[in-house]
């Protein structure tokens, strides 16, 4: 059974990358419609009706965010597309930019029109340099066809669109750090308020949106917000790109209708195709490295015993600490052979490396967590280390300038909450813990079979 695809329907057609192919498949209709038949506020209204939530991780309603843009001064307004995509496990935006760049450009034009923006930027992570060239080519094509520049399609609306490479730092994906970086400074997050919608790039009202979010806008304009809102489930409307990886048969990027059961997503042939080698499912990180890990018993069912669905609400489990988050859709599956301690250390290593270092809890705490985890993983852990680790993550969470601090703490907290016995096993069996052969076929000591 094939389901509705809003973004990826034509993605496998090679001609879709060029402007002619894109137009042939219905491209740029939304720009025509918005600029010629709609008022800017009507576009925002449709986006509000659609219930679209930001796809960059936090899931904030896009229409509402747009309506916060400050109109009380005559400063220029900016739209920034967040194409930094650096969350480990998340690799969905690249697919859109690589295969169907005009969809993003069309979304940027329509969104900029809605927001009264005259200059917009796509801030792309430095490592995606080859995609930058693809985007630049597409932007040039759009200028040549009159979709960008002065008086677009003969209307009074004009827009300039630039693509700007970042320095390759995860923190530059945080919206205010992105703004600092775009201004040519260190990518340090700013203290909020003021929020970017009031004082963003160069002190002017600014909206930052994820690539996938912006790519949804043309569909919403063409088909109407209500049509979009009828797809999905509850407050999780529409479709979502999920980048699936780990021990599954078919890793890749899938566009799902929100509300698909997690079990179906993992096991059906349409999506992940089950666990590689027929092994047992052990754990799941459903939304990129920063979201809490779920143990086997909570992957297909929530704490209340309901089926777990791929949606913002269901994955977060209604606020239970046993839940996780849909986040950016980086779906990482672990089979029975994977070591949670090692994985947690690996994530921690990343957060230690990427902290901007501005605020003390994150700067010092991420390194401390990494070192404790490293020690446990390499057979020198102590029982007290588990509580110490718990304590250190608590000192970071909620006490920092930007959500990076929480992102570094949550994976550690969830790993201890759900897999404490595995941490204890590491302390009690240091020799075995060190000897295991990771990721190279079957490891010598499947963790579940060992009881401390």
């Amino acid at each position: 059974m094939s389901r509705l695809k809003i973004l990826t329907e034509h993605i496998d057609k090679p001609e879709i990358t060029g402007i002619e192919g894109y137009i042939k498949h219905g491209g740029y209709r939304a720009v025509e419609k918005a600029l010629k038949k709609m008022q800017p506020d009507e576009v925002t209204e449709e986006v509000k009706k659609s219930g679209l939530r930001g796809r960059g991780g936090a899931g904030f309603p896009t229409g509402m965010k747009w309506s916060f843009i400050f109109k009380g001064n005559d400063k220029p307004r900016y739209l920034l597309c967040n194409a930094d995509e650096s969350e480990p496990g998340t690799f969905k935006d690249r697919l859109l930019m690589e295969k169907i760049p005009h969809l993003l450009i069309e979304g940027m034009i329509a969104s900029s029109f809605a927001l009264g923006v005259k200059t917009a930027y796509i801030y792309i992570r430095g490592e995606y340099m080859y995609i930058l060239h693809i985007l630049q080519k597409a932007i040039d094509e759009a200028y040549a066809k009159g979709y960008l520049g002065e008086n677009i399609l003969g209307t009074t609306y004009s827009l300039d669109l630039h693509v700007h490479p970042g320095g390759g730092a995860y923190i530059c994906g945080e919206e205010t750090a992105l703004i600092e970086s775009l201004e040519g400074k260190r990518g340090n997050p700013r203290i909020k308020p003021p929020f970017p919608a009031v004082e963003g790039l160069w002190g002017c009202p600014t909206i930052v949106n994820n690539v996938e979010t912006i790519c949804k806008v043309p569909f919403i304009i063409n088909e109407g917000g209500e049509t979009y809102a009828n797809i999905g489930i509850g407050a999780s409307t529409g479709t979502k790109l999920i980048s699936a990886c780990g021990n599954i048969n078919k890793p890749g990027v899938y566009e799902i209708e929100l509300g698909v059961p997690v079990e179906e997503f993992i096991y059906s042939d349409e999506y992940c195709g089950g666990i590689k080698g027929g092994k047992q499912l052990k754990a799941l990180v459903p939304g990129g490295s920063s979201v809490p890990i779920l143990p086997n018993r909570l992957i297909t069912k929530t704490a209340k015993g309901e089926p777990r669905l791929m949606s913002y609400e269901s994955l977060s489990d209604g606020g239970f600490p046993t839940g996780s988050m849909l986040g950016s859709g980086g779906f990482i599956v672990f089979d029975e052979d994977q070591c949670i301690v090692r994985n947690t250390w690996n994530f921690s290593r990343f957060y230690h490396h990427e902290s901007c270092g501005q605020c003390s809890p994150c700067r010092e705490g991420t390194g401390w967590m990494e070192k404790i985890l490293h020690r446990m993983e390499y057979g020198h852990g102590r029982m007290e280390d588990i509580d110490l680790l718990w304590d250190v993550q608590r000192k970071i969470e909620g006490n920092t300038i930007c959500p990076f601090g929480d992102a570094s703490a949550w994976p550690v907290a969830a790993a201890i909450r759900h897999f404490r016995d595995e941490f204890e096993w590491h302390v009690l069996h240091p020799a075995e813990a060190t000897r295991r052969n990771y990721g190279m076929g079957r490891s010598a000591e499947p963790i579940e079979q060992v009881t401390a």
Binding site: I171, I191, G357, S360, R363, E364, R394, N399, I401
Partner: protein, 316 residues
Amino acid sequence: MPKVTIDNITIDVPPGTTILNAARMIGENVPPAMCYYSKLKGSGGKCRVCLVKVTKTSEQNPRGMPKLVASCVTQIADGMVVENITSPEVVEARKGVVELLLINHPLDCPVCDQAGECHLQDLSYEHGAATTRYDFGRRTFNKIDIGPYIQLHMTRCILCYRCVYTADQLTDGRVHGIINRGDAAEISTYIENIIDNDFSGNVIDVCPVGALTDRTFRFKSRVWFTKPMNAHRNCDKCSGKVTLWFQGEEVLRVTGRKDQYGEVEEFICNTCRFETKKKSDWVVEGHRRIDTHSVIAQNHLPYELDVVHPQIEQAQ
């Protein structure tokens, strides 16, 4: 004027006042500040020692804020209720921040020039734990002379950014800032450059710890053995109002005058600070008032011992 209640004390403050400044106006239970500096624009929000709990956001919004907030960058709203030391959560979080700050700060107070004037020392004394749970290697650095007047001990730096803002806002052609990220971040001058302009010495005064030291004073004396006096001179670059730190008749050090929060009242130029060190260069105004709780007060303030009247138990 909006009303704010901090640790059960209510005060009216001008709109736009931050929680920290409102607490300073009350004058009791003032949250500590390691990175905020009222004289430096944009400072604050980084060290997180001033975290407080907002239990009521405003008259209109009686719910509190979900997380602790940095009092130095959070503005008050009418009817706001704040807990500082009355909140166990705040006390716990602050203790955590102090522990984290001390991870990479050596306890070299016995030889540090800032001993006795160090905000981190005060902070750990008031809010820290007596022991450490950190048992990994700590960062080490060589000391660096940045120019003829200033020495940087990067080991002691807590990355509060105060000196960066000072250099940015007070001196021309800033050459110093922070390089690298996370716990590898460090203060540095632009490649081997020196901080060389008329107001550079102020970075020493704003540093809350002993990371930036005055090369004309280092190791001359412990601060509590010196005698602080207010003095002034005619200066064409700054107000010329300073504190002179005497040993006998000799001026060992010149600094800006600091207010009760340890912040410089008026920034001074390098000539006043480094080059006019004879008593005769100055008009000495008189003793500088030093808080009795400060170790600098030792040896200086006249004080009387309480008279104890022992109650001799009456034989029954």
